[in-house]
């Protein structure tokens, strides 16, 4: 047998190939999947402006969901890019443009503010980036989903009046109220929450005898409180950002008429503690609280407390739920984050999130049940306990004024 001779050039070539290939094969090398580009989640939260207290807890909720999967799914790393929508539609659109065109994110979560969300959805019809709301949105946007104008937009639950509608029905059939005075924050969400209440309440025979429209940014509610018709059975208010002030001034004025809040989310849980025992018995509607009885919610709340040392807030849940929905969609597509793949997946997935099962209908509207909550004392803190559940009903039309 002849001796095989390998020249030094061949040895160097073989060694070079081994050096190049080894990192992707051995246990100590980087996996081949890391070569894939990261999945990018864009978040527009309100960190400043009149609803500027909600952005940070939303982001924390998204991060918590990403922590659960180790910031990686379907073999791809995940990046979160969070921007400040500044409670302002024009700013939110600027941030959406940056997220969609510069960062090229795979989905945009938020913003919370209805006007900002609608402005961003309109802009995103260009780039086509899928978009998921954190909370319920307005009827105007719902109609665009209904008629098929927007195919890349998803609402976590039915348009806003559905939330108020459930409370209106509860007020009549369970609480036994027959008359109500309404205070609307004077912008579309305010009209819609209370308009939904009026539909549900009056459908059963109740009567809304008074509706006061309160300009945004009002800090002294005394003139409105003194104008409330004192003969009504309940006072219903929607005053996002300023619910705490309203409550304080309402009780300070010696008012005893029971309050109802058609969006319990408008007051942070930390604010609820500041109202002490006065707020016990307050009834409101919404989609989540720490006391919702489900295995997913228990796991979420317990895990959050272990990690952060405090209970999650509603906006932590909103961020967490939105991220969970997106992660499920990516899992469904096996890592394909093209816009159309994500949109198709969103219509086909069912996700168990703390508030219940989340599924989207053909329009892109989520199916959350509506809970009626009552503020109770639990382990020394004020918290929202579910006392009734209503299936959501989409309300496309609602009144703007009290009944004559």
């Amino acid at each position: 047998m002849g001796e095989i001779r390998i020249s030094w050039r061949v040895w160097l070539s073989i060694l070079g190939i081994i050096v190049l290939v080894l990192p992707s094969c051995g246990p100590g090398g980087a996996p081949a999947t890391q070569q894939l580009p990261p999945i990018k989640i864009g978040h527009i939260g309100e960190y400043t402006g009149f609803v500027g207290i909600y952005g940070a807890p939303q982001k924390a909720g998204i991060e918590y969901a990403l922590d659960e999967v180790g910031w990686q799914i379907a073999g791809r790393k995940i990046e979160l890019i969070s921007e400040d929508g500044a409670s302002d539609p024009a700013t939110a659109v600027e941030k959406a443009r940056k997220l969609a065109e510069v960062d090229k994110v795979d989905i945009i979560i938020g913003p919370l503010l209805g006007g900002s969300y609608e402005a961003v959805t309109a802009y995103l019809q260009g780039p086509g980036t899928p978009m998921l709301s954190l909370m319920m949105m307005g009827v105007g946007l719902g109609e665009k989903l209904k008629d098929g104008t927007y195919k890349n937009v998803f609402m976590s639950s039915a348009p806003i009046p559905a939330i108020g509608y459930a409370l209106g029905r509860y007020a009549y059939e369970k609480a036994g109220y027959r008359t109500a005075s309404l205070l609307d924050a004077d912008y579309p969400a305010g009209w819609e929450f209370n308009g939904g209440f009026q539909v549900g309440f009056e459908e059963l025979g109740g009567k809304v005898v008074q509706r006061q429209k309160i300009p945004m940014g009002t800090i002294d509610f005394a003139p409105y409180i003194s104008s409330i018709d004192k003969t009504v059975d309940t006072v219903v208010y929607f005053l996002p950002g300023n619910a705490l002030l309203f409550h304080k001034q309402y009780y300070a004025a010696g008012m005893k008429i029971p309050l109802m809040e058609p969006d319990r989310d408008s007051m942070l849980d930390s604010e609820l503690q500041q109202l002490g025992d006065n707020v016990l018995g307050l009834v409101g509607s919404g989609v989540w609280s720490t006391l919702v009885d489900s295995p997913e919610n228990k796991a979420f709340v317990d895990g959050w407390v272990t990690k952060n040392g405090n209970l999650p807030e509603i906006h932590n849940d909103a961020g967490y739920a939105a991220a969970k929905v997106f992660l499920k969609a990516v899992e469904y597509t096996k890592g394909d984050t093209s816009h159309q793949a994500i949109i198709n997946a969103m219509h086909n997935i069912e996700v168990k999130i703390p508030r219940g099962k989340q599924k989207f209908d053909a329009m892109g509207i989520g199916n959350s049940d509506i809970y009626i909550f009552e503020v109770v004392k639990v382990e020394g803190r004020n918290d929202w306990k579910p006392i009734a559940t209503y299936p959501q009903k989409i309300i496309w039309q609602y009144p703007m004024e009290a009944s004559k």
């Binding site: 960190y47 207290i53 940014g217 002294d220 300070a252 004025a253």
Partner: protein, 282 residues
Amino acid sequence: MALDLLNAISYAMILFLVAAGLSLILGVMGILNLAHGAIFMIGAYVGLTLATSGNNWLLSLFVAGICAGIVGLAFERAFLSRLHKKLNEQVLLTLGLVYVVDNLVRWIVGPIRMIGNPPSMISGAVNIGDLLFPSYRFLLIFVGVITFLSLWLFEAKTRTGAIIRAGMEDKEMTIGLGLNYGLISTSVFVLGATLAGFSGFLATPIVGAYLGMGLDILLLALIVVVVGGVGSVKGAFLGAIVIGLIDSLGKSYFPDLALFMIYLVMIIILMIRPQGILGTQG
């Protein structure tokens, strides 16, 4: 109606306490201090932080005012004393300070809204006929009136007050007479800041403490100064009463006009009497 009037006057007293300092600083020093609202916010957060930690309410009020005064002194010495007669620079700098303070509060306290409690002895409501009125608002009216009388007497009846008035008429002549007008100007600035700090905490059971409150209150205080007249304690008081009444009664009786009624009044007064109701020309 009585209830509406009381609500309006109590709200006006908060406006007066903020606007009085702003007006004096503008009148005496010629400084448009847009950071005045931020100082109001510092008073609110400092006082609330102390009060919610179990400290005595009066002590919290006192410390809130003192802290605000110290911050005011720092602003004046470090920045504003170098910007005499430079209105553009004053506006830019003090507006920038608003954002600096806002972000510092966000950093230290977090983006949470806080609300104060009145002292326990006046936390209830008082019967007025068939209606109830919060006792705390009576305290606000009392404090507002006492502060007005004190400032007015100080301005009208004391030697220092006479120097202040003289300085507002002719600053150069006042300095030329050998009076230490610089010290008096700085003192007025600190007094205004201290008042803003006091009122920031006093207002917390009504308006709470939140990010951005400095600009909200500043806007209203500026309207009060424009309506009442610059540099006049009486003008600030009258302006606050006018704006408080129009804002509160407007919301009760003309809710559709509530949003712009105070601006309308300001425009009308600027057209008829540009120097404000009690302001002097020049």
